[in-house]
Symmetry: C2
Subunit: 380 residues, 2 copies
């Protein structure tokens, strides 16, 4: 008997209630039965994004599909965008812009660091023709959180549009779409939403529609105008992932019951306890002061082949963490703590790290990490 524990930044653990909702018999998507669910879902999604003015579209795709939709709808060929790039997902914005012939200026931070809002200001000041800024709230590849509130104020000051990848932000970190004045934001189902992957959600503000109307980039499946028209009829333009949508309604019921503010607080409390546990083991955080509450990225201790530790924990002990991506491979490991996660999960995660590092020959004072987690939780 081996239980499986998923401490990854998505796909994440899915509540059994949500899994069973997904397993309900199929319904047809062009029926009042589906439209009733979809209408409620679309309202609940506005709560998730903390918006009243925005419209939230449900895309049957991964989060990357949602990002592609943002570029294809908000820009025109040859227009200029500022991309904030501090990791793999910021780089994805730049790649998408490049594919569609959008000119980019890149604000770059080293892996593990956050983009300095002052850099955003200085670039916008230099390039007055920047139409939109593409940002990442939580850079999952490094574990860094960006200050979208501050960035939004600067971007608005220059009259540019702000488009935010909040794929691992929404439902984890505070993200009041209307209050911050974000123009478009995208999230995915397999993160804070506690669902399997397969859906993306894009929130579009009224302010974004001039750009959508003007956009000359080719799109069909990703077309916001088609999505908006269908949303008015409580349906989707193309056959949606019905089973995931039914499951998502259940997941949002659970989020509403907990309350979005409590959801944010829970993630903050658990992430903070995780960091204490890691530090108590003498390990170093990779993202330092910019650590998000999404994923705790940790520098691999010297002399430990971290890839082998991750592999053994996953294949022999059923506990899945992730390593670093790209050039961070072998340098860091990442503990995901998003969605359907409670305090005993954090105890388990840190206990597994103690076990894994110990098995790899690293000196571990058993219980030191999990005791620190317990103390942090008791005091918060």
């Amino acid at each position: 008997m081996k239980k499986n524990y998923l401490f990854t930044p998505g796909p994440t653990q899915v509540p059994p209630e949500v899994l069973l909702a997904e397993a309900q018999p199929a319904i047809h998507h062009r029926t009042p039965q589906f439209s009733r669910i979809f209408k409620e879902l679309s309202e609940d999604l506005k709560y998730l994004f903390q918006t009243e003015k925005g419209e939230v579209f449900t895309l049957s795709s991964s989060g990357t599909g949602g990002m592609e939709a943002c570029v294809a709808n908000m820009m025109s060929k040859g227009e200029k965008a500022l991309v904030l790039s501090a990791g793999k997902f910021g780089e994805r914005w730049a790649e998408l812009c490049s594919v569609f012939g959008v000119e980019t200026v890149i604000a770059k931070a080293e892996y593990g660091d956050a983009i300095d809002p002052a850099d955003v200001e200085s670039i916008l000041n230099q390039h007055k023709d920047i139409k939109a800024v593409f940002a990442t709230q939580s850079e999952t590849s490094t574990g860094v959180l960006h200050n979208i509130e501050k960035i939004a104020k600067i971007v608005k000051g220059y009259g540019a549009l702000l488009i935010v990848d909040s794929i691992t932000g929404i439902g984890i970190h505070r993200f009041p779409f209307d209050e911050w004045g974000v123009d478009v934001a995208v999230t995915g189902s397999q993160k804070g939403c506690m669902l399997p992957p397969g859906l993306a959600f894009v929130c579009v503000s009224p302010n974004a529609w001039d750009a959508v109307e003007a956009s000359d980039l080719p799109k069909y499946y990703w077309d916001f105008k088609k999505m908006r028209k269908s949303l008015k009829d409580d349906t989707t333009a193309f056959t949606p992932s019905v089973s995931l949508i039914v499951a998502m309604k259940k997941a949002l019921d659970m989020i509403k019951e907990e309350g979005i503010t409590n959801v944010w607080k829970r993630h903050e409390r658990l992430a903070s306890a995780t960091r204490e546990g890691v530090k108590a083991l003498g390990l170093e955080l990779f993202a330092g002061a910019n650590s998000s509450n999404v994923v705790t990225s940790v520098k691999a201790p010297e002399g430990v082949e971290i890839g082998a530790v991750i592999k053994k924990l996953r294949d022999e002990h059923g506990v899945t963490f992730t390593g670093g991506q790209g050039s961070m491979k072998g340098q860091i490991f990442r503990i995901g703590h998003i969605g359907y996660i409670d305090e005993f999960d954090i105890i388990t995660a840190i206990a597994a790290i103690e076990k894994g590092l110990s098995e790899a020959g690293h000196t571990i004072d058993f219980g030191k990490g999990i005791t620190a987690v317990q103390r942090a939780l008791a005091n918060s």
Copy 2:
């Protein structure tokens, strides 16, 4: 207590075994655990498409996403394509080409008719610069089947590429990808594959890659080159719909157990019995001799408001059929019989039609339709 019967051309009924496979605890997609499943799935998909030379990509999207991927990867801006258009899904090929700036010549058939292969020949003869032909095997909006084998021979004779929407073809009608020499074919999960919607599968022949390499249309999420690279590593380029993929493996196990030839024969037998039942009730088939085994489209009897009949059957009796789309609305109704369908389902479908039409005041000799179904099944 109300059971739900889905006689729609997708989403279709999903076997409980497949629903439960979908409800299994989440696994992470960058693990050997996922790759093992995905590798087997990708092999099974080759069996489904009856190909040894082609590669089958799994897209997390609806079938339309798969169609967009075909256009975006196979064509370049300003190139010429021939689109075979005999209904809503043929029209979708034309719309997609238009969005991407691909010039189109349209071979058109009236709704309810099939494209004459001779028209394809004559157009290809007139326009020697046509690079690719976009066809629809089963035009679900009208219930018409196209003779792809014949069309393929003609297209090959002119050296053009053949790209087939077989979204409601694969797993229902015979479709030997290699034998017919199809270059690219696309199908969806919620049709013959007995899954909920959310996955598309695209089979790409070795012959197609020159066009893919040459294509200058913008794509990222839909990029065949990215898909091919990831497939070699038994994974996907972006986070896939893991739960649907796990369920699809189960569905393909069931298809392999029945045997693809038997699956085709079952659909033929059930569709033929459905047509007998419909005719015995004095109703007229809309697609006539070109009727597919996917969906039986039936002209609404005079004096019957067919939309109200469909609505009552669905909302009060739990039996879902679909009406006509676009200009066919109110003119026809459609009985889907694809995927997880057996002979007693056909009895139920025809019994429901007898009930629905009778309740609407249409004179029905109860049992006449279902008896004809029984006889047809007994004799086949």
